[in-house]
């Protein structure tokens, strides 16, 4: 139960979603790290579904489906539904 994050094999910069070239150093070798949890920074309630911007421990901000009633500022656990990030309180 975690979210896959691309980390540059050369300089260690993390990206989400994964790019082709590292935005910092231009390298193209990647390793995968896991983000088990993150911090919810913003939430949007569409009624049928809630979206949130989750700050990953590695740095990037991911847009996730928010399950449950977590509000901005909350620590959330992360998982994936296909490629879609899912955050739970």
């Amino acid at each position: 139960m975690s979210l896959r994050v691309a980390v540059c094999g050369s300089c260690g910069k993390a990206s989400f979603p994964p790019p082709f070239l590292c935005p910092a150093c231009g390298a193209r070798e990647w390793r995968e790290e896991e983000a088990a949890s993150g911090t919810l920074e913003a939430v949007a309630d569409r009624g049928e579904v809630r979206l949130g911007a989750v700050r990953l421990p590695q740095g990037p901000l991911a847009i996730a489906r928010v399950e449950g009633d977590a509000e901005a500022g909350a620590e959330v656990s992360l998982s994936e539904d296909g490629d879609v990030p899912v955050a739970r309180a």
Binding site: V43, A44, D45, R46, L51, I63, A64, R65, D83
Partner: protein, 379 residues
Amino acid sequence: MSRVTNAVIVGAAQSPYSRHPPEGTTTGSVLADAFVRVLEATGIRREEVDGLGVASFTLVPDRAIDLAWKLGLRPRWLMDDGNGGVSGIQLIQHAMRALDAGDAETIVLVSGDHFTREDFTRLVDNYNRTTAQYLAGIPHGGPNALFAMLTRQQMERHGLERADYGRLAVAQRRWAGLNPVAVYRDPITLEDYLAAPIVVEPLGRLDCVPVVSGADALVLRAGGDGVRIRALRALHNWDGQEGDGLQTGLSQIAEGLFADAGAGPEEMDVVSVYDDYPAMALAQLVDLGYVPDGDLSRFLRERIDEGRMALNTSGGQLSAGQAGTAGGTIGLVEAVAQLLGQAGDRQVSNARLALVTGYGMVLYRYGGCANAIVLEGPS
């Protein structure tokens, strides 16, 4: 000040925007209508047109060459641009160089869309591959939820309330009332704005652009009389989507833009900023230097509410409508009309300089593209 180009914009036209276009309307037909109208407006004959630039989301699988064929053109310069909210200024950036280099003498730029229900669903879920892969499955339902989060962050940072954004919507609707081709012209009050149904908190219906069918067109020539281009700058993907989304690439190009123009922000008689959402219109105004003390609430009360700034004088996309990619040209059409003294009831007196911005192309969390142009009317 050195002139950035000898090319001039000789005229602009719109194929009327419509919420409910007549049966048989296609993207090609609205682009063709804008083409015909801009020739009528400028008195230029079809045979003189030797360049064509096209911006559209829904013309696919057709491209600029298909439109050229169906319009009976034999262009020496031909270009497609799919970059939404920056496409109008983007096409000018290329067209003015082509005209300076002699690749063409008379270029028509058209942009617009007609959405079927299927077109719109496809655009929302497949705006780019990142959207299709990482957002559509949430389901994110299009850009409203993303900009709702940005708006909330801007509210917290600047101490804004929903009513503050309402002042922009109300002011633009006031201008739209003077624009016979705006789709929404009836005046609204702050109370109307606040009472409109919530789309995604804090965005209400009057924070979201009405999707319409329609198209815009501009004609550029290699020289002669017309609207001059004093400055044009662009910076795309300036922060790699790693920022907060409330600062655009305009923040990086504003200083150079106004230096090229030989005039500052307060010397602009007419301003059009890309208004996909009020929060992003405000973000751009901050980036351009219109709110030097950062007090957006006061800016909205004193400059916008009281009508002291000629901003988005067509009504903008919020009231005149967003005809897809034409959203990247609507501000240019309005600026050209104002500078040529053709803006009718909403004519800004003695309008000589105009600033127009482009913004958009949501890459993941917010728009990745930004550009801006300063135009000068004929003396």
